[in-house]
Amino acid sequence: MIDLNLLIVIRTTLQVTGSALLISVGLGLLAGVYIALNDFPGRKVVVSIINTAMGLPPVVVGLLVLLFLWRGGPLGFLRLIYTTQAMIIAQVFLATPIIAGLTLAAIQQIPQKMKWQARALGARGGQLAWLLMREARYSLLAAVMAGFGGIISEVGAVMMVGGNIKGDTRVLTTAIVLESQKGNFEAAIVLGLVLLSLSFSINLGLTFIQQRKPGT
């Protein structure tokens, strides 16, 4: 069963989810930390939007991205529909709110006195963000894992905007759907196991980073 096609599907999966995760981690951490440490008009509305977006149904995200990227749509000229880039965009919309929301919660959970102490030490701007992110690093890695889990297992959005094109936009989840529909359960189960082990090894790696303790 380990053939060239499977390897291509795994590569596409890692490429799409990996890129989407990198972008989402950047955006999500930045947004979460900024919102946690700053007060601005409309902050509560923004927080509510993020909290809602944490539970966005993937097919709705898929539909929205599809509408924008469709040939006749507002961003149709970019010719991104049915490409891996379109899938990455959809996954970024799914993972960023999860990471931002959990980051916001993690930073807010640091006791007020610790934040005073950080500022009393002279930390400002980026220094303050750096110190508080280090303090909340276990929660932040959990946020990254949640974002990763949300997109590697996702099928609706990538199916809609990627089109499940063989050798191009086919990923593990869409391949499982296809094989099941064709009645190739054996192939579907193997793909499922591959997906699980992939997800497990990446989470294992992140957990090892997370559980490192400072000092002796």
Partner: protein, 303 residues
């Protein structure tokens, strides 16, 4: 120079300190360092914690200064330990090292030793006093503990209801509280309510239970304080001494306090008087014994 800011819980001492530091306004004073009641160490190693203030100031000698302060606080063996595994006393030493490492011009301490046991409190307090004197750091030391304030203060500030209500040399404040609230908070003994009236060119403090001479001005509603250490006990009334009060009293209670006794004496009002064991034996102090309380008119402080 240590200014102690003393006041009851909820008087606004911590808020006052945060304002001084600039934590409420957004512009933090970078020449100042602050230590809180809790060590508030970050989940890093001890060394990394001590280095934080120096890193934020892009100091060029971080390692040397971290080692120096680990040594000064006597916690060198703990440098590589995870800060969260330290005991309370060790952690507070690390927090002090972290604050002092930036060589602050001003040091703000918010009940820094309130969570420590008494022996560590006293040891650490003396170490810190020496460092403050040595480095000439302008220090504000918040505490609700009168003994601690008196042990450290060059200048004492009393805070109540979010205001500094009295300040000055510690002994001056303690012996001359400017309000009943301050007197009550400082635990002043022999505090009586009444009025100051003029009589034959003398001024007398009086209420329904007691009358004695004072040097203060006439006042309708007045509080009088007579410090226990200003009262002399005598088996005989002292006649003929001018401007001295001589009240007849009865010993109501004898409280042993190590080398001294504290006596509760009924002389109209209840007076607390301290007496050494030697004098107590000479006077053959016993319950119900009659004694005379002698104190100068100038020893009567009117609030």
């Amino acid at each position: 120079m240590i200014k102690a800011l003393l006041g009851p819980n909820g008087a606004g001492k911590s808020t006052y300190l945060r304002r001084l530091m600039g934590l409420d306004t957004g512009e933090v004073d970078r020449n100042a360092a602050m230590v809180f009641q809790e060590p508030l160490l970050f989940d890093l190693t001890v060394k990394e914690n001590i280095a934080l203030g120096l890193r934020f100031r892009r100091d060029r000698e971080i390692n040397r200064k971290v080692e120096l302060w680990l040594m000064k606080m006597g916690i060198e063996p703990l440098g590589s330990r995870r800060a969260l595994t330290l005991s309370g006393g060790e952690a507070q030493k690390a927090a002090l090292a972290r604050a002092l490492a930036i060589e602050p011009k001003r040091l703000l301490l918010d009940e820094p030793f309130a969570n420590l046991d008494l022996p560590s409190q006293i040891g650490l307090r003396e170490e810190l006093k020496a460092i403050i004197a040595d480095k000439d750091i302008e220090t504000i030391w918040v505490t609700h503990n009168k003994a601690e304030a008196l042990a450290v203060a060059d200048h004492l500030m009393i805070m109540m209801d979010f205001k500094v209500v009295q300040e000055g040399a510690p002994q001056a404040v303690v012996s001359n509280p400017n309000s009943v609230e301050v007197a009550a908070f400082l635990g002043v003994d022999n505090l009586f309510f009444g009025r100051v009236a003029a009589e034959n060119g003398r001024r007398l403090f009086e209420n329904q239970k007691v009358r004695f001479e004072t040097a203060a001005e006439v006042k309708d509603r007045a509080w009088a304080v007579v410090h226990p250490e200003d009262i002399i006990l005598s088996p005989e009334p002292l006649a003929g001494t001018s401007a001295r009060n001589c009240l007849r009293g009865k010993v109501a209670e004898i409280i042993p306090l190590g080398l001294t006794y504290r006596l509760r004496i009924e002389a109209g009002e209840i007076f607390m008087v301290d007496i050494t064991k030697v004098s107590a034996e000479e006077l053959r102090i016993s319950y119900g014994q009659e004694l005379f309380l002698i104190f100068k008119a100038t020893a009567v402080h009117i609030i």
